[in-house]
Symmetry: C2
Subunit: 348 residues, 2 copies
């Protein structure tokens, strides 16, 4: 953990180290050197996964809607999802903080508590990082994971076979609705006045403000070889499904998706009904940030996948099929073609 | 390489991939999956090093003084220095870009060219990353390296033994002077008018605007076991020397540093003379960002170290000794104690 500049860094870094000490026993057999040197050192006989993701104020969150605890938690949750999307085991992470002058020491502590709370839940260790002054608040995390055993493969994108079924965990659209509700908070409150629906909305926001990375599910899909191609829903299934499809020369596959099979939360339907939001389906398809797993698997695995769903208590839906030589993702509502508004959401 | 939000990301990422393709052959035997999936995948039998460093506009650079090419180059050079400071071999890196609206596509291309130019020189591959909108320009890099061979150890900090000599590569203070010259550019130009010294200053800035990470030297120190404790000069030797000293309970060591042995560039002396800057020595000691290697080694290794210096054509100076039970870094000018101004530079 190095300081880069500004701030009362030494205090800040010792504060981070103190809070992070709770994670230093995780994956200890792999770790040779953690926070405190020019680099962290580890050893791993299995294949190593590495990815990074950043969240930035006013792009991914607004300080008036998110607590610092939630911002911290979200920054690491989205990274965990990348390891889940390879069927890997998360192990370590490196934290880079960009801290503007209006962020207090207390704010930073809350953020770190949010990050470390998640790290503890997923048993990953903070092994290094840096802090820098900045004019807005950003968190950049690099996450390191590995393949579970030498025998379990990591699961790539772009490997779906024609005839494969397409599966999706959990629900989509909840992140979009939370975003919409927060962005229009005052308007909605005015509209609802003191109606009991207000409480429904509040509890929906509370339930879905943070994504749940499907780490355990990803690991089981890899271990049981139940996915040909795997990714997470970060940009909306409209954009994420093509990432599953084989794009090798002459092998362009496509997909048919059945709208009725898309898993929407019943409270999402209720709330969009109350607020008269008609295009909720397009939004659920195009907004993203759901961080559910999206994968393809041979028909012969269908039963095993639904058994896994029961065992892990994670909802899994079969939402479509991979088709040959089409190079197109088609949505169907019954037999009718459904064309989602491809709103390229830019998250503010 | 994932997009996080905003921008015309797809174009931007394909642009980055295109420029980065020149690096995809480096360390290919270790790499299983590079840019383009949810995470990169590699395999490594040796110990793995990982570190991150960020540079931010107005904190680490101002756009009016630095070209985008230099900003890109610097962002990866400072990370390479962290691997050098462990005696490791740099292998891969992950790039996170924070891009404000006033940065053009051309600016980004230049930045990436700066980064990839360095990556090619040091034979490291870009294996992933993300881009995000932001209100100021930042680059966050996570770098991955490894121990050269199973036999060569990585060299930590905090392992100096009393009696050890303290060595420093290259020169210190050049980064401080470049910073000072850029920050006071107009004033200095006015003062010098058209004097020939102007050219001296221009060439000094050109020579020292980018640090040179001592990767080869670090690797040789590890291979030949010529360092007990090793770090790089990022915060100035005043703060970096304590990082070499053993802080284990009851073993607090100290250091004596001899000012005459501190390697200052002759043009630094000339320019500070012309500009009548008296406190150049304190600045050279306290400013940092020199990214030279600083290490300790037993007296018996002195000859070997100077032979290495000759072979690598890198200046190495013996600047002091580690002493027992002192817990203090003392600077001496002859027999007189020298107290450097501990300017805690905040780089703007």
């Amino acid at each position: 953990m190095k300081k880069t500049t500004g701030l009362n860094e030494l205090n800040l870094i010792s504060e981070i180290k103190k809070i992070a000490s709770a994670t230093q026993d995780f994956n200890k057999t792999l770790l040779i050197k953690s926070i405190g040197d020019d680099a962290a050192v580890f050893k791993d006989k299995n294949s190593i996964l590495v990815s990074s993701d950043s969240i930035t104020e006013n792009v991914h969150f607004k300080l008036k809607y998110y607590s610092f605890h939630d911002i911290g938690a979200k920054s690491i949750l989205v990274n965990l999802s990348d390891i889940a999307a390879m069927g890997g085991v998360p192990r370590f992470f490196i934290l880079s903080l960009f801290i503007p002058s209006y962020i207090t020491k207390e704010n930073i502590k809350e953020t770190i508590n949010g990050i470390i709370g998640v790290a503890k839940a997923y048993k990953i260790a903070l092994i290094g990082g840096n802090v820098s002054k900045a004019s807005e608040f950003s968190i950049c995390i690099a996450i390191i994971g590995d393949q579970q055993t030498k025998k379990s493969k990591v699961i790539p994108r772009y490997s779906a076979k024609p005839g494969d079924l397409i599966f999706l965990s959990g629900e989509i659209g909840n992140s979009w609705l939370v975003h919409h509700l927060l962005e229009n908070k005052e308007l909605i409150e005015k509209f609802l006045e003191e109606k009991p629906e207000k409480r429904l909305i509040e509890s929906f926001i509370k339930n879905f403000i943070l994504p749940v990375p499907r780490v355990k599910l990803g690991m089981e899909l890899a271990r049981l070889k139940l996915a040909d191609s795997l990714t997470d829903v970060s940009d909306g299934i409209y954009k994420d499904i093509p990432n599953l499809l084989n794009q090798a020369a002459g092998q362009t596959s496509g997909a048919n998706i059945f709208i009725e099979e898309l898993p929407l939360n019943h409270n999402l339907k209720k709330i969009t009904g109350i607020l008269k939001i008609k295009d909720y389906l397009s939004n659920a398809i195009s907004f993203g940030e759901d961080y559910e797993l999206l994968w393809t698997s041979g028909v012969e695995n269908e039963d095993k996948i639904f058994k896994l769903s029961k065992r892990l208590k994670i909802k899994i839906n079969k939402i479509g099929t991979v088709i040959d030589n089409s190079n197109e993702v088609c949505f169907f509502e019954g037999k009718k073609r459904f064309i989602p508004d491809n709103k390229t959401y830019r998250h503010f």
